[in-house]
């Protein structure tokens, strides 16, 4: 690999063709920042007008980058969507794992903690929430496949969080996650994602109450 920049310095010149106004920022930093802006622009546009209607030209305009920059970083619209989806999914799963990890809590508190973390993300990031929970379902076959995969991970986390009782139906975690997803999905559709945390008491009761006092808690 040829040495980058002059005289072996770690700093690199701005890419050819762009004004070299910030010569001290490493190229990787600028590239990451631009990728982030492109992903955010796609998430916003998708939330506003849907995936189908969102054009590459809209994305680069919103992100304030050149068309070429988008194609230098991504193969196309779908890859931008998938990158944005993966980043949001990782963050959601990280928070849910963290929220439900308290070793001193009982299973109900851990379920509540995971749920609170999930609803917290929805409320904080309504645009990403919409992209992940609504648009991903129908954007492309691959986005829909990743949605199902992420959903399955949440089902698995829930399964491990519920009391380990063989009398519980094998599908219980899946149905509980489905019920929560449906309520949250509607909340986002109504444009009320910011208030998702209001749902915490009712959804906790939905997930936990049936099994309390039935010899399972």
């Amino acid at each position: 690999m040829p040495p980058r920049g002059k005289g072996g310095t770690q700093e690199t010149r701005a890419p050819k063709g762009s004004p070299s106004i910030r010569p001290t920022l490493p190229r990787e930093f600028i590239a990451l920042h631009k990728q982030r802006r492109i992903m955010d622009a796609l998430a916003e546009l998708t939330a506003e007008q849907g995936y189908e209607a969102t054009k590459i030209s809209d994305i680069v305009k919103r992100a304030g980058v050149a068309r070429k920059t988008l194609y230098d970083n991504f193969e196309g619209k779908e890859e931008v969507f998938l990158a944005a989806f993966d980043a949001a999914r990782d963050e959601i799963l990280r928070r849910v794992r963290e929220g439900s990890a308290d070793p001193d809590a009982d299973w109900q508190e851990r379920i509540e903690g995971g749920l609170a973390a999930f609803l917290g993300f929805i409320a904080e990031q309504p645009t990403l929430a919409r992209m992940c929970m609504i648009e991903a379902l129908s954007a492309t076959p691959e986005t829909s496949r990743r949605y199902e995969e992420a959903y399955e991970t949440l089902v698995e986390l829930t399964r491990r969080g519920l009391p380990q009782d063989e009398r519980l139906p094998g599908t219980i975690a899946e149905t509980l996650v489905g019920g929560v997803a449906w309520i949250v999905y509607q909340q986002i559709r109504r444009g009320e994602a910011e208030r998702a945390e209001d749902l915490l008491p009712e959804l906790t009761e939905f997930m936990v109450a049936p099994y309390v006092g039935a010899g399972m808690a």
Binding site: P141, G178, F206
Partner: protein, 212 residues
């Protein structure tokens, strides 16, 4: 078939039109199930229904309109089956069980329509989503209105009714997506338990289900 002159077979124009419409609605559900939305063209739907493209357009302005009508027809059929099963029962828990049994049987008998109702409902965009939501909302009162008060005399929060119905729809949708539509009836005990437990508690729910 569509060009048969009225006089020779004695069928009224309305009868033929209605019959064509039904064939088109069945054809689109099957094509969607087998090939997905994008590859389900108007030409393919017309071909599957044995009508011409111009007959298709006499009934529907577009593929989307046809899609919506097929969704409505499939839901109407399932709803009718469920309501008649419920009507044969007098107690609330039996009514819920009978309704769930009828739902699972109806879906298992027609996997293409199961897929239309449960898989496409959430995945085919805003118009169809509105129908999916309305369909789920139709069953929420069935659950809520007859449900007894809990052990401590109070009702579960309202989100529970919706989450129960939405959770069941989601479970069944994912099973249909995995190709398990013909085997849905095997989920009866789990689905019924899930529906009754928030209202009756696990023990009572199980007693009722195993007695059926």
């Amino acid at each position: 078939m569509e060009s048969l002159p009225r006089g020779r077979h004695g069928l009224t124009r309305e009868y033929i039109a209605q019959h064509q419409r039904e064939r088109i609605l069945i054809a689109i559900a099957e094509l969607l199930h087998d090939h997905g939305y994008d590859r389900t063209t108007v030409a393919a739907i017309a071909g599957g229904a044995g009508v011409s493209k111009s007959d298709f357009y006499a009934h529907f302005a577009s593929k989307d309109e046809c899609f919506g009508a097929a969704y409505d027809a499939a839901f109407e059929r399932v709803e009718l089956t469920i309501l008649s099963a419920c009507a044969a029962e007098s107690r609330w828990p039996d009514c819920v069980c009978a309704g769930i049994g009828a739902l699972l049987t109806a879906l298992a008998d027609t996997p293409a329509q199961a897929s239309l109702l449960l898989v496409e409902g959430l995945r085919a965009g805003p118009d169809v989503y509105g129908r999916y939501q309305a369909a789920i909302e139709r069953f929420v009162p069935c659950l809520r209105d007859g449900a007894p008060r809990g052990r401590d005399g109070r009702r579960p929060p309202q989100a529970t009714d919706e989450a129960v119905v939405g959770g069941i729809a989601s479970l069944l949708g994912r099973r249909v997506l995995a190709g398990d539509a013909p085997r849905l009836t095997r989920f009866f005990p789990e689905v019924a338990e899930f529906a009754l437990t928030p209202y009756l508690g696990v023990a009572e729910a199980r007693r009722i289900i195993s007695a059926r």
